[in-house]
């Protein structure tokens, strides 16, 4: 059953005021802007992933393999800056939020369509500036993505460019968040009360508030580092009376909530996938929605756990460690809800669900090792080791990355109106899952054994772990290329997707694939809670 009219052209074919490429670059249609983000993110992702692969090749054996130490420093810095600021922070919210938030709440567009396009231009400017910083001035920045002082003030590489890039990207993120908050407040379809809103919009809502309230802090902090470099002001320089620890606090006041900016939309995406592929209402709607907000709220007050060894009072460390354990609770609630959603459902193990299940598995490993890092005693042993690298990548890539893959497999038929090949998608999933674990799991062991992070060279005893890890990197890259190939082939030669290939029940499945320019011919009237699967509903039996 579709509410749309098939004679209306889809947003892909729609001819507005501008034609051709300009029809995309000047379009204020939220769906086209979502795709603009998607394409940009794919390009930057493969660039940064390739840089990561180069680092892994360097680390396959002790000593120099393919590059100089300074090149390695530049590589891990730009790998981090691109992956964090250009891909995972905007990623889910900008691509799926833009594309599906308005549709899922029954709106024709976001509240401020022009501002939305402006955010994309800010984003692309910041992203290009970040890449440009590699090639101008005195060589690539070598501070790591965290820009810790005093080194970020002293390093004579083009740190200022990278800082400016991060500042602009932050501004873009604020405007996107603002747009989504207002959209959710003002543009929900008639009858869609707050508690009738699907859970992906709820996740985006929690994310958007975090974006709006945390990002200005990193903005001013980056400005202070720029002021310190250019004007010699010395907020963070002990020689001038400043305090380098202050920088770390300010940086993490933003950058810890930023982790939740990354993971909340990811959780929202898999929350949509589990009910659809179990044909069963989501278990614990209210619990999932409240835990999203709780994560956003508590996530604000745990930043100190990045600094346990940096010099803080005993009570401050106790407090931050305690809250770190508290913030694990809402995440665990969600995991129980997802699993309970599958329990007793008609499970259809299609690629989106495979990725969503992999997400739970990897996210749990990342989450539990997060508790190892959040405990005061074990933190001292694992701080700044490869253990952190492994934990971080399990959360960011295993969590956010795999949720992104889940989301793109889930919504690809809707976005492009074509079906991809399930078999190839499953094989790519296998490569990705095995490659990922081979790549990052050895880092847990290496870290406990004492392998420091961001290190160009290592002792011979760490050779085996690094060797396995590099093999994993190649498998993972192969899997991701296969996945990309599958999508490109589907776009060219895939069979036409029906309006509702997965038998989903949220609003995006009630309009044609791909959606028409205006989304809905008539704005739907919402009369019940989401996730009602009708006669096939297992809970109704």
């Amino acid at each position: 059953m579709t509410m749309g009219n098939d004679t209306q052209p889809s947003y892909l074919e729609y001819q507005g005021k501008h034609k051709g490429l300009a029809g995309w670059l000047l379009s204020t249609d939220h769906k086209r802007i979502g795709l603009l983000y998607l394409y940009a993110i794919i390009v930057f992702f493969f660039v940064a992933a390739f840089l990561g692969l180069l680092m892994r090749i360097e680390l396959i054996a002790p000593g120099k393999t393919i590059m100089e130490p300074q090149t390695y420093n530049g590589l891990f810095t730009i790998h981090g800056i691109i992956m964090i600021f250009v891909i995972v922070i905007p990623g889910m919210a900008a691509v799926f939020g833009n594309f599906f938030l308005p549709i899922m709440i029954g709106a024709r567009d976001v509240a401020f369509p022009k501002l939305n396009l402006f955010s994309w231009y800010l984003y692309i400017t910041g992203a290009l500036l970040g890449v440009l910083s590699q090639f101008i001035g005195n060589g690539p920045p070598d501070t790591g993505w965290t820009f810790y002082v005093p080194y970020s003030v002293e390093s004579d590489t083009s740190v200022i460019w990278a800082l400016t890039a991060a500042f602009i990207l932050g501004f873009s993120s604020i405007l996107t968040g603002l747009n989504f908050i207002v959209t959710i407040h003002r543009l929900r379809a008639p009858g869609m009360k707050w508690m009738r809103m699907p859970l992906f919009p709820w996740a985006i809502y929690a994310t958007a508030w975090t974006q709006v309230l945390a990002t200005p802090i990193i903005g001013i902090t980056l400005l202070m580092v720029i002021a310190e470099r250019v004007l010699n002001i010395g907020f963070f320089d002990p020689a001038l009376g400043g305090d380098p620890l202050l920088y770390q606090h300010l940086f993490w006041i933003y950058s810890h909530p930023a982790v939740y900016i990354m993971i909340l939309p990811a959780m929202g995406v898999v929350t949509e996938i589990f009910p659809t592929f179990s044909q069963k209402p989501v278990f614990g709607y209210t619990a999932i929605m409240i835990s999203s907000l709780a994560i956003a709220l508590v996530g604000y007050f745990v930043w100190g756990h990045h600094m346990f060894t940096a010099g803080m009072s005993y009570y401050a460390r106790w407090f931050f460690s305690f809250l770190t354990f508290i913030v694990a609770i809402p995440s665990a609630i969600k995991v129980f809800n997802w699993i309970s959603t599958m329990y007793g459902g008609s499970i259809d193990l299609k690629p989106p669900l495979l990725y969503a299940i992999a997400f739970i598995f990897l996210f749990m490993i990342g989450g539990f090792t997060g508790l190892v890092l959040g405990s005061l005693a074990t933190n001292v042993q694992t701080h700044d080791t490869a253990f952190v690298v492994a934990h971080f990548h399990y959360i960011i890539f295993g969590g956010m990355g795999f949720a992104f893959f889940a989301g793109i497999h889930y919504w690809y038929p809707k976005m492009f109106g074509k079906m991809y090949n399930n078999r190839v998608a499953n094989i790519a999933w296998g490569f990705n899952f095995i490659g990922f674990n081979l790549l990052y799991f050895p880092h847990f062991i290496l870290g406990i054994q004492g392998m420091p992070r961001r290190s160009y060279d290592y002792l011979p005893q760490f050779h085996t772990g690094h060797f396995i890890s590099t093999i994993g990197a190649f498998i993972l890259i192969a899997g991701m290329l296969l996945m990309l190939f599958n999508f490109i082939r589907a776009g060219r030669r895939g069979i036409k997707a029906p309006a509702n290939p997965w038998h989903g029940v949220t609003l995006e499945w009630k309009i044609p694939s791909p959606p028409p320019h205006e989304n809905f011919e008539e704005i739907p009237e919402i009369t019940s809670k989401p996730y009602f699967f009708g006669s096939s509903d297992k809970t109704k039996q």
Binding site: L178, V212, A227, G241
Partner: protein
């Protein structure tokens, strides 16, 4: 929020204002970072901060405060005049607001030039020989007033755009959400100054 209102096509004024208010919060957080840094260093170097503040001219600061307070009143008046449909009064009050803003910046210019005459600018040798607390005080002084001045300029651009639009009639008694949002922004510029003034000039 009324349910039948939620799917209007154009940006209605409630939507526009909600967006603006959220944006203003982000501005408060931006300055909030600097206020936090101010609080920390003030606690650490309170004596030096007293000396630093004593060197600022509280009279010029007070004049500027008066300018901004009056300008906040005139911009609010401009909005009321627009709501009542009095276009000429709106344009007059907007012009007065812009002039007061320009006077504020002029004053700021003289104040900064005066500091430069004493060789007090960020990174200057004179400043580096001062106690560390004063060094940070002047660092904060330049950064906070500088960032604020930048906001004054942005506010002036916004108000000028409004002046043109009121003249052209695209902002009128039925559609004035841009004017209202710009006025809100201007109040924020005023509000931040009201905190900067005592923190930098008065607490000696």
């Amino acid at each position: 929020m009324t349910e039948n209102h939620t799917h209007t096509e154009h940006i209605d004024s409630e939507t526009g204002k909600l967006g603006m208010w959220i944006f203003l919060f982000t501005e408060l957080f931006l300055f909030g970072g600097l206020f936090l840094v101010y609080a920390i260093f003030r606690a650490k170097y309170s004596a030096d901060f007293h000396h630093g503040a004593a060197e600022l001219n509280a009279f010029i600061g007070a004049i500027n405060t008066v300018f901004l307070l009056i300008s906040s009143m005139t911009v609010a008046g401009a909005l009321t005049a627009m709501q009542k449909g009095d276009r000429r009064m709106t344009m007059l009050l907007l012009t007065v607001t812009l002039m007061l803003a320009a006077l504020f910046l002029l004053n700021k210019y003289f104040e900064w030039s005066h500091k430069f005459e004493y060789h007090i600018w960020p990174g200057s040798p004179v400043l580096k020989n001062m106690p560390q607390g004063e060094l940070l005080f002047f660092g904060l002084y330049y950064m906070m007033t500088g960032l604020h001045a930048l906001h004054v300029i942005v506010g002036m651009v916004l108000l000028s755009i409004n002046l043109v639009k009121v003249k052209a009639g695209t902002v009128n008694a039925g559609r004035y959400v841009i004017l209202e949002n710009s006025a809100l922004y201007w109040h924020l510029v005023d509000l931040i100054w009201i905190f900067l003034f005592p923190l930098l000039y008065l607490i000696t």
